[in-house]
Every structure is written in structure tokens, then in C-alpha cells.
């Protein structure tokens, strides 16, 4: 065994969920992650481990990733039971190894949620989120013929609130962290963005009914105020957005 090199490097024991295909049989497999620089990101640590696995002739750990900057929403896994790991407001790709200590055991598992099926190892199918957006997560304007951008003023604080909601990266951590596998934070964020902005108003009613309906249809659960989603969301999207969605939903459901 290599010795941890001073303070800059650590050695870890990994337990990683291995599942070859969507057939849900899988198990935790142990790996050693040695001489891991504290400056590495979590995914770079997995890269290093994977290089060794490849050399040993085995199948490397599959995980989704792309931007590695915390913005594309590709990455994500449960790390010691926490979505995206222990750091608040951080995606897995932006989690750095300095938050771990030498000798730690790290359990890495895919998102577990009724609506997200495992594709392989840590990779899951999140197309359900795309379907929720397809149900109405947009403003229906065709290209061309839009009025001047300044034609409708949007007060700064409104624009800021809309932006707070719009920051969602669609990673799925909220649904994975929720004991009910609810997608309310994700859906609420999109509905809020458009409910706040004047451009979104004409369709608010239709949008909220369609998106909430789709969410239920896809098997996402209900919100019972556990607040796990907000705690684990890497973009710190507030549950105010769920309240806003519920308000819009009630308004839409009772108005003719």
C-alpha cells in the first residue's frame, strides 16, 4: 500500500454500486483510492481509480459528467448517503477531495428514485425531467416577431427572483434525496420562473396544470415538506418555489 504523501494526499476506501445494465441486479464493489491529491475533484479521483481498473482488465466505473463546472447537471451520485456529497450547494464535479480525510470509507451509489432507472453503475435515466419540461416548461413563442426586448420592463427584483429559480441545472438530486421521490423542486423552479416574469403570465394556468399532471403521471411522489430537496440542491433552489407552484396550481384548478 502506498503511504499517503504528507498532507496533500489521502488514501480512501471506496464502495461503489456496480450494475451492468438496467436489470436492477447490482452490488457494492470495493476499490482502493490511493495517493489522492486533496486538490482533485471527486470526479478526477474517480478518473484515477478508473485508470487503474482499466489496467487491471476490468470494467471501469460508469458515471455521467460533462462540464465539470457545476452547470450542465450531468454528474451526480449519492456519496455516503448524501446527494452530491457532503458539501452544501455543490455538484459532485465541484466537490473537492480536501473535504475528505485520510482513511475514510466512501460509499458511492446512483440516484435512487422511482422515475430514474439505473442505466449502468452510477448512470441513471433522467429523461423524465425532459418530459416534464416538454409538458409546458416554456413560453410558446415562435422565432421571429418578438417585440423589442425593452418593451416590457421587468423590475429588477422580479428578474432576480426569476433568475434564482432559473438556476436549476436539472441534475435530479432533489428527487433522489426526497423520501417520496418528488420532483416538486425541479418543477416548481421552472413554473416559478415563468409565473414571475410578465412574459410567462398568459400561459401560467395551462403550464402549471400540464407540468404537475405530467409529474404525477411519471411516478414522482408528492411533497410532504421534508425539505431534503432544498438541503441537497447544488444550486440551493429554495422551496419557496414549491409554495409558488402550489399557489398557482390552486388558482388554476379553481378558476374556470
Amino acid at each position: 500500500m502506498t503511504k499517503a504523501n504528507g498532507e496533500k494526499c489521502i488514501n480512501l476506501k471506496l464502495k461503489v454500486w456496480r450494475q451492468k445494465t438496467k436489470d436492477p441486479k447490482g452490488r457494492l464493489e470495493s476499490f482502493k483510492a490511493e495517493n489522492i491529491s486533496k486538490d482533485m475533484s471527486f470526479l478526477e479521483m474517480l478518473d484515477v481509480v478508473n485508470e487503474e481498473i482499466i489496467h487491471s482488465g476490468k470494467d471501469p466505473i460508469a458515471f455521467d459528467h460533462d462540464c465539470r463546472e457545476g452547470i450542465c447537471g450531468s454528474c451526480g451520485a449519492m456519496v455516503n448517503g448524501r446527494a452530491h456529497g457532503p458539501e452544501k450547494g455543490t455538484t459532485l464535479c465541484q466537490l473537492h477531495m480536501r473535504h475528505f480525510s485520510n482513511g475514510d470509507t466512501v460509499v458511492i451509489e446512483p440516484w435512487r428514485s422511482r422515475a430514474f432507472k439505473v442505466v449502468k453503475d452510477l448512470v441513471v435515466d433522467r429523461s423524465a425531467f425532459d418530459k416534464i419540461i416538454q409538458a409546458g416548461g416554456y413560453i410558446s413563442v415562435n422565432t421571429g416577431g418578438a417585440p423589442d426586448g425593452n418593451a416590457i420592463p421587468v423590475p429588477q427584483e422580479v428578474a432576480e427572483k426569476a433568475m434564482d429559480a432559473a438556476e436549476c441545472i436539472g441534475c435530479g438530486a432533489c428527487a433522489a434525496a426526497c423520501p417520496n421521490a418528488s420532483a416538486m423542486l425541479f418543477t416548481g423552479a421552472k413554473i416559478s420562473q415563468f409565473a414571475l416574469l410578465p412574459q410567462g403570465h398568459p400561459e401560467t394556468k395551462k403550464r402549471v396544470l400540464a407540468m404537475v399532471g405530467k409529474m404525477d403521471e411519471l411516478g414522482f411522489g408528492n411533497c410532504t415538506n421534508e425539505r431534503e430537496c432544498e438541503a441537497e440542491c447544488p444550486k440551493e433552489i429554495s422551496i419557496i418555489n414549491i409554495a409558488r407552484m402550489n399557489r398557482e396550481f390552486i388558482k388554476s384548478a379553481i378558476s374556470p
Binding site: E44, H55, G144, A146, P155
Partner: protein
Amino acid sequence: MKLDSKIPDGPLSEKWDKHRFELDLVNPANKKKFEIIVVGTGLAGASASATLAELGYEVKTFCIQDSPRRAHSIAAQGGINAAKNYQNDGDSIWRLFYDTIKGGDFRSREANVYRLAQVSNSIIDQCVAQGVPFAREYGGQLANRSFGGAQVSRTFYARGQTGQQLLLGAYGALSRQIAAEKVRLFTRRDMLDLMVIDGKARGIIVRNLISGNLEKHSADAVILATGGYGNVFYLSTNSMASNVSAAFAAYKKGAFFANPCFTQIHPTCIPVKGSYQSKLTLMSESLRNDGRVWVPKTPGDRRSPGDIKESERDYYLEKKYPGFGNLVPRDVASRNAKLQCDMGKGVGDTKLAVYLDFKDALKRDGQDIIARKYGNLFEMYEKITADNPYKTPMKIYPAVHYTMGGLWVDYNLMSTIPGLFVLGEANFSDHGSNRLGASALMQGLADGYFIIPYTIGSYLAEASPEKIAVDHKEFNISYLNAEARIKKLISIKGKRTVDNFQRELGSILWENCGMSRKNTNLRKAKKLIKELRAEYWENVLVGGSEKDFNQRLEKAWRVADFLEFSELMVTDTLERQESCGGHFNEDYQTDENEALRDDKLFCHVSAWEFQGNRRKPKLHKESLKFENVELTQRSYK
């Protein structure tokens, strides 16, 4: 074959209007008879897919990621330009055009760039209508900031996540068309080959990344919006899946590749930390609006920045370029950072970094205002480096960021293969030898929302292609070739991993074909690339099986293409015996180390035609005519 850029006659400002009038139209009822393939769901691909579907075409859209919303465009931070002149500070379509031409160091087409500036305003209107939450002034008007290289405030932004918000707007429009069943979406697909049948682009071969199966898709026209090739350098700010493979497949099928040597090195990235590093993170250049770049005056000064007095600091950009200061264009800022580090004044552990300091801005505006502008960037920086930029200056260094080169297209955005259109970063069209900040998002959306919908219609109306079945023999040949290449990659079972090869290729290019280029080094690089490529096909270790979700195999395919493409890139670099924009050949510089162009010999686009694997590609030159601006030596003093 003679290159015909199809630039319309007439005065610059009337060309696009006149051209649109002259283009053939497809009868609305006939549009649904045409199938169009769009590869890519970044700003260019998503906006094109949505708009073409709105017009009534049948669209099939492909991307690598599990969702179209995750395309690399999502990572753009700083903003998008438009000539709105909302600030009344002297901006105009003409000024945006002029700045872009000059910023590109006079290596782009006047007509294309003018059109880009013209449609820029409609982009903002469109995005606002879609609900993109752009930053606003207190009164509710759209806010602007000035961005690298511009002396007017014309950049629209959504915090530090402009690309994300614009892409989500386009993704929303795309999602609406998917729901309307006008777009069929294929995610987790990798395009392996382009089908050219009877001289026209008629389809693609893709690999289903989950099952590993190859699929054949036919269409009446193909649009590539597959982004840039910056990852040829291994370390870049591009997302991990960014690649040259789709464009390179088209090149091998007859699409000319233009100006592959024009790559952009961005001045403000987080410096490299260690050999495990997988990618580099950009710190938006909007930071240069408020941050001041400096190094210690004395080489080798190891003190921490707080201990270095004002009088001992060298604010080299402000000193050398009093007119633009910290806002000089990217190529100039990058080269100067390298110069300082070459003189031994670099900071940090590796000495390959300079400071970007917000102390004065924080004192002037207070933490709240700075946090509103850059909060998320500061946070990202702290997450990665564990340094707090509110307290200590950022350390930054240049990194590969964007590629101006790409597939050659005419004014209609059509490549040299009829029916193959190329949009966004994947084409070469608008940025010459250096792209200005906030202009890539503008170009991607201009291409997708406002240009391709007109020009592709005219092609389809004129060519009215016959339907093609996917069991056509050309499809089968390509299918078998792709299958054989995959089998070969897996069967080598050598000793070095794909990443290991890609790292070496990247360092060959960074050292020899990066920020500063020399003929001797370029020749050496060519030799090294050839050797590395030969070794790759004997010694690469991919692992796993081809009928599986196999991420190493995905990468192995891309790296195989990078190993071929990089040679073309170096060939082009050697061919261009001048310096311009981001292409800096040390033999051609002014006394002040600025890029020295040679307008007599090199005022052209270099478009390369594939001649088979063993022969040197053939160079075609499209000469650039400047009728509206005067060619000058760029000066940012």
C-alpha cells in the same frame, strides 16, 4: 473545385435583405415532406431544430448527452452581444460589425459579420420573449456590461450563467416542438459518419451510447452544430464530450475544413494544478471589467500578494495599453500573461499564473455589488482553489477555450457538400483569427434562429432531393466501416489508456502549436503526432465491449480523430506564415510583440480538402475582400 462564398452583391447593409428576397421559398404545405437531421443541441442546434420545426419541417435531433439541455453551451458565463445601443453610448450595427472584423484581425468575411451584427438585436428580443431572465436595471430595463475588447456596453447577461439561460430558452422552444411531435429527439447518440449519396448529404450513422448499436438515419439535408475542437489540446475549458469527430467525418467525406490553426486561448482561467487534471475552468472575462491584472515587478518575488506594496506591482496591461487597459482582446491579454511568466514574474506554486485583483473594485462598490455581478464565479473559484477572491486576488492563466476554425461554409452556411449545413462553433464563419467575448453565443443563435431557416429552405426548394432508404448501399458501407473501426479499437488491447494518449497529444500541441508558435517546433510536432498516432493503433487499451455503455470506447473514437485532425491543424499553422489574432508565429511580430499580419500573402481563408489518408490535404484559398473597412494594424494602446 473553386470555392464560391455566394456573397450577394450590393451594399453591405442591403446584402442580407436582398439575399432573403432572392432565396427560393418552400411552399408551406410542402415543408412537412422534408426531413432535416440536426446534430447537436447547443445554442446553434437547439435554436435551429426548434425554428425549423416551427416552420413545418420534420426534424430529427441528436446529441451525446442524456438531455439536450446539457450541451456545452450551458457553460458559457459572461454574456451575449447585440447592437441595441440601449446605453446610448455610441453603439450601432456598424460598430459591432467593425469591432468584430477588427477583433478577428481582418480574417473574416465582411458580409457574414455584418449580417451577424444585423440580426443580433432580434436575438435579444427573441430570448426575452422566451423568458430568459436577463439582468435588469432598477427601472426594469435590460442591463448591459462592457466585455473584453469593446468600448461600449453591449453585452446582455444573466448573472454569470448567460449560456445556461440562453440554452434553456432554446431547449424550451425545442421541447415544445418535441411535444408537438415535430422534432424527434435522439439523446446519447454519437455521430460516427456522414452519408453522402449522389454528391449530397443524406444522412448519418450514429452509435447508441447505451446499447452500443449502430443506427442509420436518412434525411433531405443534414445540419451539423457539433461545437468546437478545443479538446484536441486535452486540457481546455470545453466540456469533456466536446470533439472534432462529427466535423472530421464530414471533412473526410468532402467538406473542406477552414482555418484549423485559429484557436483561441482565453486569458482568465484557473491555473493547472496537477497531472491528474481533467479540464480547465474558465473565469469569465467579465471579471476583467473590475479586476486588475498584475504581477510583482521583481522576477521571483515569492511573497504573498498582500505583502506586495502598490509600488512593487506591475499592472502590465494598464501600463502597456492605456486605452483598453485590462479589457484588451483575449489574444493580447493571453500573450502578455505568458510574456510575464516567461520573464519569471509568474505567481503561485507553478509560477504559471498572474493575479486578477478585485481589491479596488470592492473598495469602490462594496461587496454587495461585486457579489451581484460575480457572486457565482467567486464561489466557483473558491470551491476549486480554496482561496477567497473577496480577500485575496485570484490567480489566473490562459487556457484553450474556443476554436475559430471549423468546416468551411458559404454565406448560406452550406459546406462544400451540398445539403450539409454547419452552424455555431463548428463552422469557421464569423470570427476570423480571434473571437471577441460574448460573440459566440450571438453567432450560434444567429445561425440557428435567423439564418438557417431561410437558407436551408432555398436549398431544399432547389434540390428537391429524392427520398433515400437507409438500406442504400452507401449506408451499408459506412455502417460496416464504422463497425470495423470500433472492433479494431477494442481488439488492440495495448498498454496505454486512451486518456494517457490524449494527454500526450495535448501537451505536444500546447507546447508547439499553442499560444506562441515557431516553424521548427511545428515541424517537430508533426513528427511527434505521426508517431503517437502510429502507436495508438498498436498500443491503446480501451477495454470493455462494443455492445455496451462503454465510455472508454466513446473517447477512444474521439481521440483517434483528434490524432488525425491535429496533423491537419499543424499543417495549416505551418502554411500560414504570418501572425494574426490568436495565431502567433514568433517570426512575425511587431517591435512591441504584437501579431504582424501579412495582408499581401495571407488575406485569405485556408480551406483544406481531404485527399485520402496518405496524401497531404489540398489547400484552397478564399481571398478576403475588404470593401468597407480599411485593413489596419490592430492597436489597443
